[in-house]
Symmetry: C2
Subunit: 151 residues, 2 copies
């Protein structure tokens, strides 16, 4: 058992606390100002990044690290609100697509500037460019490692 050193423990717990606190604050602002939850926002951001705004359930689930059942339930609720539609894909066996709707694009377009402003005020304004570079590098490296492990 490789326990954490005091420095590691301190840094890791601060980092976890940052995620809880910043994530919680941003979610609440997003919900209040745009009616989207953090989960809605994450789904819509993912879909605006892919061609034609459509992605297979399984790829979206993998991108968000969500369980299949959470994904199905959440997408069903978002579909009920008209933000996405489910598109069956009978010609192959690799499962259905989730597709962003015009209403979904409108919702994310309205939410994005408020969200960016909050990200700046709550986070970026308190981080130097050099620190931000470290954060970006570390994030990319760790995510790539997680991707490798999963494949």
């Amino acid at each position: 058992m490789r326990w954490l050193t005091p420095d590691e423990q301190h840094a890791w717990r601060s980092f976890v606390r940052l995620q809880e606190r910043l994530g919680g604050r941003l979610s609440r602002l997003l919900q209040t100002e745009s009616g989207l939850s953090a989960a809605d926002f994450a789904v819509l951001v993912n879909l605006t990044d892919v061609p034609e705004g459509r992605q297979r359930y399984q790829d979206l689930a993998r991108a968000l690290e969500w369980e299949k059942s959470r994904m199905s339930h959440h997408i069903a609720r978002m579909a009920g609100r008209g933000l996405v539609v489910r598109q069956e894909c009978p010609e192959d066996g690799r499962g259905a697509f989730v597709v962003i709707t015009e209403a979904g694009r409108t919702a994310i377009k309205a939410a994005a500037p408020l969200h960016v402003e909050a990200v700046r005020e709550l986070f970026l304004d308190h981080v130097t460019p050099a620190e931000l570079r470290v954060l970006g590098d570390v994030s990319e490296r760790v995510v790539n490692k997680l991707d490798e492990d999963a494949s």
Copy 2:
């Protein structure tokens, strides 16, 4: 509107992706190996850090940035599993306490080493000490700022 620069955008999105991916992976491992959700774990970690393992609902909610209703529901479910108890506090008007039980302490004690091992393998092993220091500093600074804003 102060939009994000490409560097800021890139770093922020990598950071968000890290939180989704690493958080998701750690939660699933925790759930599989110890039967605790990430939310259970966060509550229990908070309660082991305070005197007598008890904290007021409102302070716990603030520490986790949870809405009151989410807190009530989650604590009720954890109480149903014997991990915490609710303790009324009739002598003052500042509300009830959440108290960790022996079963709660046993559960977190069993989960902690598995969790630490996963944190090391998935995250710390890929970060240099200097990077970790930057990450810890940034996290503390931003959390302190969020605390100031909230008070």
